[in-house]
Amino acid sequence: MKTFEERYTGWIDGKLTAAEAAAFERELESVPDALPDKTDALRLGDFLRRHADAPSLTNADFFSHQVAARIAAESGREVKSDRRHWWQWSIPQLAMVGSACLLLAGGLFKMMIPTGTPEGAGTPYFAEIVDARTDNPHVSATPVYNPKDNVTVLWLDGLDYLPASAQLN
């Protein structure tokens, strides 16, 4: 036994037999909107058949985004994207990234700034007097570096002579 909806759909589509159609139309006499409804449905079907080609979308992603945004606005719910950009990270995430960057910077600093003697670097000579002062006005302090000998000596002139009786150690 077909339901009313099945028979109604068959009646609109013209799929009922003549006997079935006549019986159903008698049944529809109590439904005044049935005939205009059938006329509208037939007109809509005809319209869709004539304009079946859907327009091609040139920006499908943008269109989808617009639709999603519209749905979200109308439903009051936020449409969440699967992928979040860095500027959308939460404070804890930003703090973690900041800590990681500091850690990395510290590691690179230790690696790039020379501390200690590089292994196998040999021992090229380097000693440089930056400044030298004496309290005694009769004593002068002069840095001496001879490129040929590659030795730096701070030369103190004017110091008192120490006799043999002066203990050294």
Binding site: V153, L156, A164
Partner: protein, 151 residues
């Protein structure tokens, strides 16, 4: 979050693989006596590399150690060295960032003869590069002072 894990991983690897440089540096100082003798002795082992050049510069054929002292140093260290009972040095050390210093130090060095200050100097020195100070003349020869950073 994958990138975050990668950054943490690289940073951690860097930190654990880096050498703990400069933790055991020492400063060696000595009072030397340079003289001209008929049969010069072999130079001190600590100065073997530079003794010939020092002889060329000063004109002495023998350099001997009268006394020496050693102390551990690190960045911002302040040490007092007394190679002999009559000569001493106050040294303030800071790590030098100069490339030529190769992780050496910027030293603020005050040299004393008994209680009298002979000189106050600032010098950048690389490890294993001795700095010499030509001091007073003694009846037996020329007194020299040397400061050397040993890694």
């Amino acid at each position: 979050m994958t990138a975050l894990r990668l950054i943490f991983g690289i940073a951690f690897a860097l930190l654990i693989t880096l050498p703990r440089a400069g933790a055991e540096d020492k400063i060696w100082s000595a009072v030397l006596l340079a003289s001209n003798v008929a049969q010069p002795k072999a130079p001190p082992a600590e100065l073997d590399a530079v003794c010939k050049r020092l002889r060329n510069l000063l004109g002495y054929n023998q350099v001997e150690i009268i006394g020496s002292a050693t102390a551990k140093i690190d960045d911002m260290a302040e040490v007092q060295l007394a190679p002999t009972s009559h000569f001493s040095m106050d040294v303030k050390a800071r790590r030098s960032s100069a490339k030529e210093a190769r992780g050496g130090y910027l030293l603020n060095l005050q040299l004393f003869h008994d209680k009298q200050q002979l000189v106050d100097t600032e010098a950048k020195i690389a490890p294993e590069s001795p700095l010499f100070i030509r001091g007073p003349m003694h009846a037996r020869g020329q007194i020299l002072f040397v400061v050397l950073v040993q890694p």
